[in-house]
């Protein structure tokens, strides 16, 4: 990110900061009127360029607790053409998103069976938000949308859809259910690291030769070596791929390949390559940019920018699988429903 756009970004974020706290608070129903929202801002444009502190072994210090919680969508919404909202527009967009989020818990709706998200402070309006005036996280292509999927990508999407269909209904087996519901991995881990719907928290710890990123859900750890070691053989594949990092000035550049393709990021193939760049731009903010490259899905790369804002620690243990009553209850419920239907059908035919 060049200095000029960094400064502009800073201005816009700052301008928005004060407004957001008040407006979101006003929009949210009474019991939640005092949200913990602490919107972090970049330094004012008049300050001199930020020099991050160093770890004892000389790495720029990225350590601490961070969140990438945001209302900004990955792709620019339909009908929006500009790159940045004005502060009032950003506020309105966030209010609308917060309202949609809170809407889940209204009685009488189909989603009512789900617990009240806001009751446990899980909704974004009650979390620290890494705010921005952007209309989309995607900064390239300039229209803020992913490039079109190429022929190979479409073919693969078709094959995947067919496989899903052949596998049966969503509640037929645990393997048919979403990967996050199965407590295998969630979007926060990435890479690239995307904001989780809640608990969008990270802890970064550095040690000579390593940067470690702990993602709260599901206690995922990426250990990124900085020693220029060769990438692993093609046969070794992982959910989070295999990462290699290096410092370019004050920017940590992390390249990741060797994904196993089971958690395809936006339809990508297993040969996707993700390049992330972490630059600390203030005490309270890390500029996080990622570029996605997958010639088997898109004919060009695309890049997104999603800041990480400082938040309070600690990170709590997220023992998802250990208490995954959700899955067994859903499956048992589906089987019970089928049994009921079958019995009724039998009665009907007698």
């Amino acid at each position: 990110m060049n200095r000029r756009s960094l400064v502009s970004f800073g201005v816009l974020v700052l301008g928005v900061a004060v407004l957001l706290t008040a407006t979101i608070a006003a929009q949210v129903p009474a019991p939640l009127a005092k949200p913990k929202a602490a919107v972090k801002a970049a330094p004012p444009p008049t300050s001199k360029p930020y020099t991050p502190p160093k770890t004892p072994d000389g790495q720029p210090d990225l350590q601490g607790f961070w969140t990438n919680s945001t209302y900004v969508p990955l792709e620019r919404p339909q009908g929006v053409t500009k790159e940045f909202y004005t502060p009032p527009e950003a506020e309105a967009a966030m209010k609308a998103a917060a309202a949609r989020e809170a809407e889940q818990t209204e009685p009488g709706t189909t989603a009512d069976v789900h617990y009240d998200f806001s009751q446990f402070g899980l909704d974004r309006s009650q979390s620290t938000i890494a705010a921005s005036l952007r209309t989309s996280l995607i900064v390239d292509p300039p229209d803020g949308k992913m490039p079109p999927v190429n022929a190979k990508g479409q073919k693969r999407a078709g094959e995947r859809a067919a496989a899903r269909k052949a596998a049966g209904g969503q509640y037929d087996s645990v393997q048919n259910m979403p990967i996050g519901s199965r407590c295998i991995i969630m979007g926060g881990a990435g890479p690239p690291m995307m904001n989780a719907g809640y608990n969008a928290n990270y802890q970064i710890v550095q040690s000579p030769g390593y940067v470690m990123i702990l993602t709260e859900m599901i206690h995922d750890v990426r250990i990124i070596p900085l020693d220029n070691r060769p990438q692993a053989a093609q046969e070794l594949r992982q959910w989070v791929g295999l990462s290699r990092g290096r410092w370019e000035g004050n920017t940590l550049v992390v390249e990741t390949t060797n994904f196993n393709g089971k958690n395809a990021f936006r339809g990508a193939s297993e040969n996707i390559k993700v390049t992330e760049r972490f630059t600390r731009i203030s005490d309270d903010m890390i500029d996080y940019k990622f570029t996605v490259e997958d010639p088997e899905t898109w004919d060009r790369t695309w890049t997104a920018e999603a800041p990480l804002a400082k938040t309070d620690g600690p990170i709590f243990e997220f023992a998802c699988h250990e208490t995954n009553y959700g899955i067994s209850n859903i499956l048992a419920g589906a089987r019970a429903e089928e049994k009921q239907k079958a019995e009724q059908a039998k009665k009907g035919s007698n």
Binding site: S173, V174, I184, I223, P225, E322
Partner: protein
């Protein structure tokens, strides 16, 4: 005169040197001192792994057949001299009964079978490596098995805010030793595959000390008045993974146990 003086001085010097040499030979070899981390603390960073059969059974035990017939010798249990100081665990009588019940039903009850988080100290001696990433305020221990992770808080220390599988760890340096004090456990993990267990009163104090360039001395004092009549100690060396490019790989086992846990809830093809 001068010559005699010179000779006497020389003799004295030689005697002194000999005495020193003898003293050095007889003296205790100094304890190993690990290289320093950039902040001056002993550097315990690296990828470590236990080499013993403690995860099968922390008490001394003979070899035994596999609990799963089809695995034959591949699933059989190797013998072990035990890692518990004194040999046997000091169970309260009713707890010993429960341990034996656990053991008899271990295929169904061992949380490791279900890919649940392993707890402490089991995570240290499972047959998987773990990596210590040592910073100033936090020392991370990242385990390959199920991606289990422990944060050791070296600063901003608080009491465990809630119970968890891996507990809440506060750490401090005592000379060359990293002392990790962990509380806030739930009662759901086991110490090994043989049914040795604990309650939510578990309190573990571990000591990690470098004993050579590539080994650590590991000691864990375990206290749980609801289950044991007194605290007991577990000791073992930990070995560094020295091969080039050693790294923690994924062992995301949730996928591997889904049919075990939920297979009976799979929709059956209709008649």
């Amino acid at each position: 005169m001068r010559n005699r003086f010179f000779i006497r001085v020389t003799l004295a010097a030689i005697t002194a040197c000999l005495a020193l040499a003898v003293a050095l030979v007889n003296a205790q070899a100094p304890a190993y001192r690990a290289p320093r981390a950039p902040d001056g603390k002993p550097n315990l960073s690296g990828i470590w792994q236990a080499i013993n059969t403690a995860n099968y059974d922390i008490e001394p035990h003979s070899a035994a057949p596999s609990p799963v017939l089809e695995l034959g010798a591949s699933g059989a249990i190797p013998a072990g001299l035990g890692v518990v100081e004194g040999g046997a665990l000091p169970y309260r009588p009713e707890a010993l009964t429960k341990r034996n019940e656990n053991r008899a039903n271990r295929l169904k009850l061992d949380p490791e079978v279900k890919c649940y988080l392993p707890g402490v100290p089991r995570a240290v001696y499972q047959s998987f490596p773990f990596q210590i990433i040592q910073s100033q305020k936090h020392i991370m221990m990242i385990h390959e098995y199920a991606g289990a992770v422990r944060t050791v808080y070296m600063a901003d220390q608080v009491e465990a805010p809630a119970d968890s599988w891996m507990g809440w760890s506060n750490g401090r340096w005592e000379g060359e030793t990293l002392v990790v004090d962990t509380k806030g456990f739930n009662d759901l993990s086991w110490f090994d595959r043989s049914g040795n267990f604990h309650s939510d009163a578990l309190h573990v104090v571990e000591r990690f000390t470098a004993r050579s360039a590539d080994t650590l001395n590991y000691e864990a004092t375990i206290e749980d008045p609801k289950v044991f009549t007194r605290p007991f100690k577990i000791t073992m060396p930990l070995y560094r993974r020295v091969e080039p490019n050693a790294q923690i790989l994924e062992f995301r086992c949730v996928e591997f146990v889904e049919d075990l846990l939920y297979g009976h809830l799979r929709k059956q093809p209709s008649q």
